[in-house]
Amino acid sequence: MSACQDFSEDLTAWVEEQLPAQRWEQLSEHVTHCPRCAAEAHSLRAAIVWQQRALQAVAALDGVDPLALKARLRRELRAAADDKAPAWDLRTVWATTFGRFALAGAAVSVAATVLLLGVGPEMVLMPLGLEAPPPAVVQQTDFFKDYPLIERLDVLEHFDTVESVPLDDDGSASQHG
């Protein structure tokens, strides 16, 4: 299984014979003995043949360089795949036993927090990033984050001066302790 994972990244390059000789031989050896990778290689080869025919047809119509177009398509598709690839996939996590326990634990934790704190579920889901916060919070995060400070801005701005102001009950306050 781990060998297949190790080779799967290079399988397309192997089919297209674009690997360094030593690596190409390693993959050839593996594909010879692994029916799963052999089937995938067969499928890739068929896709590549179809892709080349399609590119040739397009090139014939528009006078485009098929190799340049192929390279550009590959770049674009790879970039799109990288952009869309989620950093975290629920199905992948669920597929493992540990993942199932972790997700079940997370669900129980969220439910317990909602019950214990008596807050709405959004007060747990939003901080976790599982629910979108109100637009005002997103637009003015700084404001709401520093809210306690901004509320007292007038006092804080003149704190040293204010601190030295004597109060009428200063004497009695110290007497009464």
């Binding site: 990033g129 919070v137 984050k145 809210y147 804080l156």
Partner: protein, 111 residues
């Protein structure tokens, strides 16, 4: 009340992990940069603000405009003062508030 952010932080840290970045990739960077505990407190502040009467809300929003126009040094000084205030007991904070009101009455005499 004091323990709530802590509990949320513990739970959030256990189960948030990488999912928060994947869940809402289009949100403003600022919100995404906050920890779950900070987000919880930010949301609480938002709810508190929403409950205020309109004139009180406007007053605080004007203070925020002033805060935005302050220099980084001035903001840092005010943050330090806020930390000092946070370390005072409720009675001492109440005294500071009364001192401020007295000082303000002297500085800006009512008409």
């Amino acid at each position: 009340m004091q323990g709530r952010p802590l509990v949320v932080l513990v739970v959030a840290t256990c189960c948030a992990g990488p999912c928060r970045a994947a869940a809402f990739p289009l949100l403003a960077q600022n919100w995404r940069e906050l920890s779950p505990g900070e987000r919880y407190e930010t949301l609480q502040n938002y709810q508190q603000h929403e409950r205020l009467p309109e004139d009180s809300r406007r007053a605080i929003e004007k203070r925020y405009e002033r805060w935005q126009q302050m220099s980084p040094d001035e903001r840092e000084r005010i943050r330090q003062n806020y930390q000092r205030l946070q370390h005072l007991s409720p009675q001492e904070r109440d005294r500071i508030q009364r001192k401020y009101e007295k000082w303000r009455a002297q500085e800006v005499p009512s008409q």
